[in-house]
Symmetry: D2
Subunit: 446 residues, 4 copies
């Protein structure tokens, strides 16, 4: 019988420092060498570590969340270069078609975590409302002492996947993000959103891991200009598309010879928006890929905007594997912030308000607000841009499937259930693979 599981092209060792593994990098840079080459049609497996490189532990304390070192995130596995059947590499201007054949948790490492970062170290979309670090861990299959608040099926997906930028594209990124940072407060155009967070994380050699690029002047130069892997950009990157699971395809623009595909930041499940930043159920794992090349595909299918030919985006093909839910409770927000100030068609403010409305509502059913934030970050909820034309209010909505709760969460004549609220527990909550869900760990108040 021929081998059936692909031998991993990229193996990781969760116990080794990221920098020593060779196959990881936490910056985007065209000079990071490919760690392997595949042919179109070839099936290959890539193992990944969790996005913090093992900093977050499966224990009862949120200290690790509070003190996490964010200079070294997100660590990606790769890059992988892709050739056609004749051995010719993918070329700038092509589209790289990446099919996710399968993906899962690594044997012996079947757990994940969701957290809220401290306002002074990472923060979140709602950091002004939830400034303290907080953590929940999930055992995908394990003991079941956690209170059965909710239950939902996971839909594993990579939060972060992309092709390497060219030198020219990297320069564009750095310039525009530097320009934003230079503006300082003046750039903060949004209501009351996240004022204390950095506007952007510019290149920072501290904490940089650059795969097999040898230390020396080239390394120093690359580390000094390589882009952080945190946001999504023209090469894909941290898109956090919660349905990008088994059977999906991505059509990536190719900016460098070989395309140089990298992937990381696997999620067991995520809600639209990944609102708590460390918001999905974060995990290590593996993916089986198969690639194809559409020669000249960028010209055929993409239309660059702006002054360069480089301002483009990948296209995602999503398949039929999404849990079906029949009934939803939908929370709405408009672009008036919580101080009562009116903003102009601001979908960010509107979505923030939809989320906060939902948090307030669900907290009446015995959950702590932190529990709800963690839940919304990781359950299959849908964040929608419902109306974005009616001045001055954008209208965004957050839809929660009612079936995931173990109580009926719809409004009733008699009001929400009264009685003692659920107790915050310091002891370790565990959830089965299928997903009984989170009590927060003891939040790290200071």
């Amino acid at each position: 019988m021929p081998p059936t599981t692909p031998t991993p092209l990229i193996k990781v060792d969760i116990k080794k420092p990221a920098a020593d593994q060779g196959v990881l990098h936490n910056r985007w840079h065209p000079d990071i060498p490919a760690v392997g080459t595949v042919e179109v049609g070839e099936v290959f497996r890539v193992e990944t570590i969790d996005w913090t490189n093992g900093q977050i532990k499966d224990d009862d304390s949120a200290e690790d969340m509070k003190n996490v070192d964010l200079t070294c995130v997100h660590n990606l596995s790769g890059p992988v270069a892709v050739n056609d059947k004749e051995g010719k590499p993918a070329q700038p201007g092509d589209l790289l078609v990446v099919e996710i054949l399968n993906l899962g948790a690594r044997e012996g490492d079947e757990w994940g975590y969701t957290g809220i970062f401290d306002r002074d170290n990472g923060g979140s979309f709602l950091t002004d409302h939830f400034p303290h670090a907080c953590k929940a861990t999930f055992h995908f299959i394990s003991n079941l002492s956690s209170p059965p608040f909710v239950r939902f099926p996971g839909l594993i997906h990579p939060g972060l996947i992309g092709t390497a930028p060219s030198h020219e594209l990297l320069k564009i990124w750095n310039e525009r993000e530097s320009h934003l940072v230079e503006q300082g407060e003046a750039a903060i155009t949004l209501g009351s959103v996240c004022h204390t967070r950095p506007l952007a994380l510019l290149p920072n050699a501290k904490g940089a891991t650059l795969g097999t690029l040898p230390k020396g002047p080239a390394w120093d130069k690359a580390a000094g200009e390589a882009a952080r892997t945190i946001p999504g950009r023209e090469n894909g990157g941290n898109c956090d598309i919660k349905n990008l699971s088994r059977g999906c395809k991505v059509y990536f623009p190719v900016f460098v010879e070989g395309a140089n595909l990298s992937v990381g930041d696997l999620h067991f499940s995520q809600g639209d928006g990944e609102i708590s930043f460390c918001g999905a159920i974060e995990m290590s794992g593996w993916l089986d890929f198969k690639c194809d090349i559409i020669r000249g595909g960028m010209d055929k299918y993409l239309t660059p905007m702006g002054p360069t030919k480089l301002h483009v985006n990948p296209i995602f093909e999503i398949g039929p594997l999404e849990p079906r839910f029949s009934e939803w409770l939908v929370f709405e927000g408009v672009s008036v912030d919580e101080s009562g100030r009116q903003h102009y068609l601001d979908a960010t403010v509107a979505y923030k308000r939809a989320v906060l409305n939902c948090v307030d509502y669900l907290s009446k059913f015995g959950y702590s607000k932190e529990q709800v934030i963690l839940l919304l970050s990781c359950c299959p909820c849908e964040g929608r841009v419902s109306g974005i034309v009616d001045v001055p209010n954008a209208c965004c909505t957050l839809a929660i499937p009612t079936a995931i709760f173990d109580q009926d969460i719809r409004p009733k004549h008699e009001g929400p259930p009264v009685g003692p609220k659920l107790v915050q527990r310091g002891s370790c909550p565990r959830v089965p693979y299928q997903g009984k869900l989170p009590v927060t760990k003891n939040p790290c108040m200071h």
Copy 2:
């Protein structure tokens, strides 16, 4: 046999001016008298006119779209006061539960339209890109000369439904929106979005229809301070939630005695965001409602934000009646605008970019860009806030069901089909109820 169809509580006559019908109003004001009273549990029918009050015609010209009078939109049917079984009206602080039992097109008026407004008269989310008026009409059941580009099932819903504001709430609205307008350019915090549009439409007696409120000083005062019905606000209003169809419920905050429910702006179908402003398939129609009152429900379930007890939002309960689609093509946008400028976690810019990426992509398959804009406004596409934490980029996505197209729109090795593009046709496109789709009418270029 007892009567089976509810006798309409509110009847409209599409041929009469809105102001003469008594049962219509196009402003929110607590002093607009209820035109009828129902009891909880009673089934009642409300007829509605289209949101422009019949200004848009079923013909081949977009002149009506270009010259539309927007001072008189949106006309709503109502208000309807709601009593409990003992005859006691809904009170401020209650929740009004509104169930949509059924809804449909009015016999003999089974058609709708989608349009793009002129940049100088209404504009749209994408007005800088599509400044010219444009129109498509749809016959829900009719001749089938339209090119079979797409085909999708309708999901009729009210774009606009809400309870009357109190005087206090109205004052809050006017103050915050005036403040926005006073800021002028300084308030435009968003990338390159819609700069030429008014920031907000403040109270304007011109064009006001106030139901049965008698002309005189009271009318003048009300007209001078009544809020426009255009945006969504604390009372619901223009939420454009595309799934709010047969079998759904809304839990509205009650601000005035009787709750005073109004509804209008029916849509045959809409995409998330209703991006072209006049974006859904706009129609007249009817709805059958049944109401309930949750006494004290605002305290039980809602948490006001900001300095007043009034900054709250309705909650929507969505049912299982959504078309199932198995495969989607997903377009992504991040908060870098088309000039290349970086914005900070700006979901509006990100969604705009996702939409423009989709427009560019689909236009390679033979559709005009205007056709695609109209399509995205009215087909069951989904606009998602995918990631809103990774500085500096918000990531929004627009997902299109592939099954609605009569060609395979996925990227292929051979590129999009070549050959003559589809011709813009001035002749009237017609679509069956089921939804063969729009060629744009001759756009009104100037």
Copy 3:
């Protein structure tokens, strides 16, 4: 503005006897003249009466159900002949493509009924278990005094639609069904299923309505040999496919010039199997159709079986408009009947057992068994052939969506709710369009 609602090609008058309407027939015969002719692409409306021709009343007695005259069912509207654009009729050997653009209840007649027939007059799939006539009526929009047991969205569809048989095909039908009847008891190969029911209903001039065929020898001959419209056969007929709703297509074999399409027996909603015989929510209504002709399509796509070229079946194309349900409770039956007797791969026995298992189970929650039978007949439940290979047991399943109930019907530690059972009520239950559901009317015990 052009007319938007198609002028009915076929109008019915519910108050007139079927035989006097000209546009109805309740037998299949090639000599029944077409009552209208349409062209491919033309949209036309057909009105239908309920399948019993108004015998069942919206009242509190099941006497009408008990004494129903089944010689005159099912009355169909038609036939409609179909020509191509050049005026050439559909020909034997073609496929007639029939698209259901829209369908609904007739204004002023928005109600329906579900019933169980008496064992001595019609019976049902479960007649040995439920021998007494029973009835529930549903007002699609009306007062809401009915106990809120269940709630589900309707999916209106024609239970019966087909093309006219040729003389040759009619002869085949009559021969094979006569042969069955001649066998008598010997033909009853199934477990304990329905022994007291007629094996087949052979041609019967009594009660025959043959459209516009003039009385005289030709009428007598036709009435004496015309096939009953009760079962489904090669021409489609009474297929009871519950999802054949708005937007679906049927590809019918054509046996006579013009194809001669007829339709009737509309259902507001039906469960797979339509188990109580009068089982769906039966209604009058209207349908808007559009036809196409695939010339020579029978040769292209169908493969006749048996000795003739006529033993073929239509093909149905089902669309995305089905309610989504996320959780189901599934009942199983195997081919051992309730006496304990083993049958050989008998799916009929297995399905019967799955249904009876479900009836017993749900009856523990306070519903009467008759209520459950009526519910299973008309709610969107799914009857599946799960396994049909493992000798000696076929395994069939019946899946019930849990979300339609107002209580949690899953098994629990504490057992089903105790306390008084729901009371059978003679007073008229009413249900809104959306579908609060049936208490049975006072069953007609003798």
Copy 4:
């Protein structure tokens, strides 16, 4: 970190004979000792072998399929006894609640097969039409040389799961199945279905594996009376419910102390009916379970039929994890067999005809009929009992999702594609996990 993957309670070794593994049994008998005991709430893993115990090889020949030894099927893992938290075993009369937390393929054994058995050795539902052995193998992740005919997501489920019968129940089974066999030809009540197959497989010591029951008189007695595991019965067994996947629950009747749960026959994917007998994509694998006990649950929830208290069935709770498909092509069959003979409400004949109609139809698109049979056996198609009341015809349907094909399979004016049919290939077809589909292996004609 605590262990995350459950240590397998039952491990299998695919290379060892089934009889030597101790943890397997291929007969139902109350005296087979439990191989392990779990507590309610405990998570435990069970490994399983494929149902033929490794007889079918991943190669190019169907000889193994032709000559398969069916005396030793299906091998199950178990039994597992279940105690409550106080250590008291499940008792007869309880319900055993079994939750499937997770399941998958065994590392290094990620492949499966679908086959047609020879008419003289196993046969199938359609054995008279497809008498020759035939085989396809699928590599869940592997090289991709297979023609891309279809593509569908797998939904792994156990085909066979059940609790141990009591002595009394076993006696009932043996008596009723013996009675069937004794009748011989007279018992074959179904149209033309499968006449050459055995009516039932009675107890047969040859090939029996009875776990850890020691050889000797007790073994001989048990082997002589133990029931075959082939069909589904009161204890669950071979139900082949294709949606019984991750997150589902089964409520089993308990007949012996400890309940004694066994499981086997994992399927990667199956169509309703599993029509080719060896019909799903058969695989080895593992499952993670968690159990609960509802004390006295049989009395609370089940209603026995017939003369004993034992004629009952399990209840299945199905979750939201089913692939969504939007468009289906539906084939219909009525109870007239292919010789033209009329049967009375015979759902087995009707379903057979729906299947054959579909096979004929799809074979016009270039697939061989054997390929279609294999496809229908293993793809997510739905077999429905649509109408089972309209004498004399039952109406069954088979619905195929159109999206799984790489060509448009709907009828068209121009007919099916012409040109060379797909060639039967002897070389090994491989399919990725996601499911590119089967060419049949060289069928084994004799």
